[in-house]
């Protein structure tokens, strides 16, 4: 929150408290603003929040612990499929949301540990390629485990997944306040997801300045030195994988319930790369970076899709490039230019722990 507040231009430095309120108001009002442009924008915001959770989780692994993970989407898949197994007509099991969510998180964490153990010794790019392989292996198993016993329903995916139901309150139905006035289900999902993201931010914030967070930072900067001062790097790595995976699993559960349909093509390598790009784009190793990176990169393609054609017609008189092509072109250029001009991301992480006084100050709530 503090980091996010500080990232607000101009106001952030002068009046952090006001900036904090501004962010809070924006976060709550965002879907109302988006609504003015159409319901699809609220849906896009909902997905942006899911991407924020993913980016926060991956940031924990890559940014905090310094372990480059190119297969992060696998945990998202584990979460989504857990939800689909336990709350859909596929196995005729319909467990309540409150039970499935922790299970999804737990399975994802388990998957994280399963990945973590064999790769403990690997570093840097070797780790990257093995995690990439792990992501693909998970996807391929989801794609093919419909034979000899049908577990995942293969390429057909699992549909008709139960929506999120909180205390008998179904989020997928519009909430009727009075006869004339109803709150759209997209808003309900938005605030539910917002609560999850806020919870994650608070948790990760506490974690970052805790003993574990500082040990991760030490390990990231110099593993040998970290070992030498008595940090148990093995446990810390496993913890990073497990915790990072947990966030992926939770986001996956929410995704499954929100979309109502999961199939392996949602969990491709490109998605892993997309989330990693969000983290790096925003600025690795800091919460505000992950949040803003996810927000910008989830919205950018959609904004381009919206403005590309009218803009070209206004400027050239006819459409030179299809919006789809332009979207890919600008996205790739954005990735390259961003890294060239600002390689530490939109909001660079500050070397907070080098200065004890900073540490002290930021540990104040």
């Amino acid at each position: 929150m503090n980091e996010l507040a500080a990232a607000v231009p101009w106001l952030g430095k002068r009046n952090p408290a006001a900036a904090r309120w501004l962010i809070l108001i924006l976060a709550i009002a965002a879907p109302l603003i988006a609504w003015q442009f159409g319901r699809s924008w609220v849906r896009i915001l909902d997905f942006a929040l899911l991407y924020m959770m993913l980016a926060l989780g991956l940031n924990l692994v890559v940014g905090f612990a310094g372990l480059l993970d190119l297969g992060y989407i696998a945990f998202y898949a584990v979460g989504a499929y857990t939800f689909a197994f336990l709350a859909s007509p596929h196995f005729e099991v319909h467990l309540p949301f409150w039970l499935v969510l922790p299970l999804g998180a737990a399975f994802a964490a388990l998957a994280g540990i399963m990945l973590g153990f064999p790769v403990l010794r690997l570093r840097g790019d070797y780790l990257a390629i093995v995690t990439l392989g792990f992501g693909e292996i998970v996807r391929i198993f989801m794609l093919n485990l419909n034979y000899p016993v049908n577990i995942t329903n293969g390429p057909q995916g699992i549909g008709m997944i139960d929506p999120i139901v909180l205390f008998g309150w179904d989020l997928s139905q519009n909430l009727q306040i009075t006869e004339r006035f109803a709150i759209n289900s997209l808003f309900l999902y938005y605030y539910a997801f917002l609560a999850c993201v806020a919870g994650s931010i608070l948790f990760i914030r506490r974690l970052q300045i805790s003993r574990v967070g500082r040990a991760w930072a030490a390990m990231r900067e110099d593993e040998l030195a970290a070992k030498a001062i008595g940090i148990n790097t093995r446990n810390l790595k496993l913890l990073a994988f497990a915790l990072g995976a947990t966030f992926g699993g939770v986001a996956g559960c929410l995704f499954g319930a929100f979309q109502g349909f999961v199939s392996p093509e949602s969990f491709s390598l490109m998605e892993s790369i997309a989330v990693l790009t969000m983290v790096v784009f925003g600025g690795m190793g800091n919460i505000a970076g992950a949040v803003i990176g996810a927000f910008v990169l989830a919205l950018l393609p959609e904004i381009l899709r919206h403005i590309a054609v009218p803009l070209q017609q206004a400027v050239f008189g006819h459409v030179l490039l299809d919006p789809e092509v332009l979207r890919m072109l600008l996205l790739s250029l954005a990735m390259i230019l961003m890294m060239l001009l600002r390689p530490t991301g939109l909001i660079p992480a500050r070397a907070r722990y080098a200065h004890p006084e900073n540490l002290h100050r930021s540990s104040q709530p």
């Binding site: 690997l122 840097g124 070797y126 392989g133 792990f134 391929i140 790009t277 790096v280 890294m339």
Partner: protein, 311 residues
């Protein structure tokens, strides 16, 4: 060896040679810069598409040209174009990122890969194109029931020649020595009078040239080309490079061949080996499982000697 086994061996060798050629480009760049050049596979695509464009042009202006001359001319255009792309990438993007945080070059490379694909899509459209198969694809039957086409033989021979050539270049020439020195230590090499910038640019150019050749051979073998054709072979070749020990030329070649064979035999025999429990739908995971096992038990790859401490 029965006909089926022999055929799978040939299948594996052909695709493995292509992987090996691409892997060389990855491994050289990694050895010198510690950079995973994700866009390398797309340089292969640029090579194939440029060659295709040249051939179509030549067929228009000189329909009676002999296939060999046409292929040579196409290569003579495709290789420099790919080299130019490789050089431009290095000069405009990667060079500025040498001292950037570790992930920045990787993200740039991914962006570069998307950029090349998008540009290719703008130029050549989204459709698959047929690639003229100038070398015959009518199969020969050296052994009863085993088929091999002339283009496949060319692929294996050309790959082998290029690999030998590259090994000689790196081990026997002045520029090769400079490359090895730069890979060992940039600063020291530059203190010794090596123009490291030129050496790095040269490495990219050579890698791109090899990729162009690989692209043309790949497209000739399958008879198709399109804007996204480089991504999967690129990924596989990268796996092959790591498998063999990234940064090591011999390793890349070995890794490529091993990967090709594993994929080919894996897809062909897994159903029988697992009593029908697994089948060829799992063929894309063999590469990753083998890779995982090799790295866990031999973290520097099959032939890697140096412990990768670039992390």
């Amino acid at each position: 060896m029965d006909a089926e086994t022999l055929q799978q061996l040939i299948n594996g060798l052909v695709i493995g040679s292509v992987y090996a050629l691409i892997a060389l480009g990855y491994t050289m760049v990694y050895g010198i810069l510690g950079l995973i050049n994700f866009a390398h596979g797309d340089v292969l695509m640029v090579g194939a598409m440029t060659a295709l464009q040249t051939m179509l042009f030549l067929m228009g202006v000189a329909p009676g040209m002999s296939p060999v001359a046409m292929l040579t001319l196409a290569l003579l255009v495709a290789i420099p174009v790919s080299m130019l792309i490789g050089y431009t990438m290095e000069r405009l993007a990667y060079r500025r990122l040498r001292n950037a945080p570790r992930l920045a070059p990787l993200i740039t490379a991914i962006g570069m890969s998307f950029l090349l694909q998008t540009l290719a899509m703008i130029i050549w459209g989204r459709n698959y194109h047929t690639f003229p198969q100038l070398i015959s694809t009518t199969p020969l039957q050296p052994v009863e029931g085993v088929f091999v086409t002339p283009v496949q033989i060319v692929i294996i021979v050309v790959s082998a020649l290029l690999m030998i050539g590259l090994t000689l270049l790196v081990n026997r020439t002045r520029i090769g020595r400079a490359m090895r020195a730069t890979a060992e230590n940039h600063r020291t090499a530059s203190l010794m009078g090596v123009d490291t910038n030129a050496v790095i640019a040269f490495t990219f150019i050579i890698g791109a040239g090899l990729a162009a050749v690989a692209g043309v051979m790949y497209a000739s073998n399958y008879g198709i080309a399109h804007y996204g054709m480089g991504f999967m072979p690129g990924l596989k070749a990268f796996t092959a490079a790591v498998l063999g020990g990234i940064g090591n030329l011999g390793g890349a070649m070995l890794g490529g061949i091993v990967l090709g064979l594993v994929e080919s035999f894996g897809a062909g025999y897994i159903e029988r080996l697992t009593f029908g429990f697994l089948n060829s739908s799992y063929q894309d995971i063999f590469a990753f499982i083998i890779l995982g096992l090799v790295l866990i038990f031999r973290p520097t790859g099959l032939l890697g000697e140096r412990v990768s401490d670039r992390a």
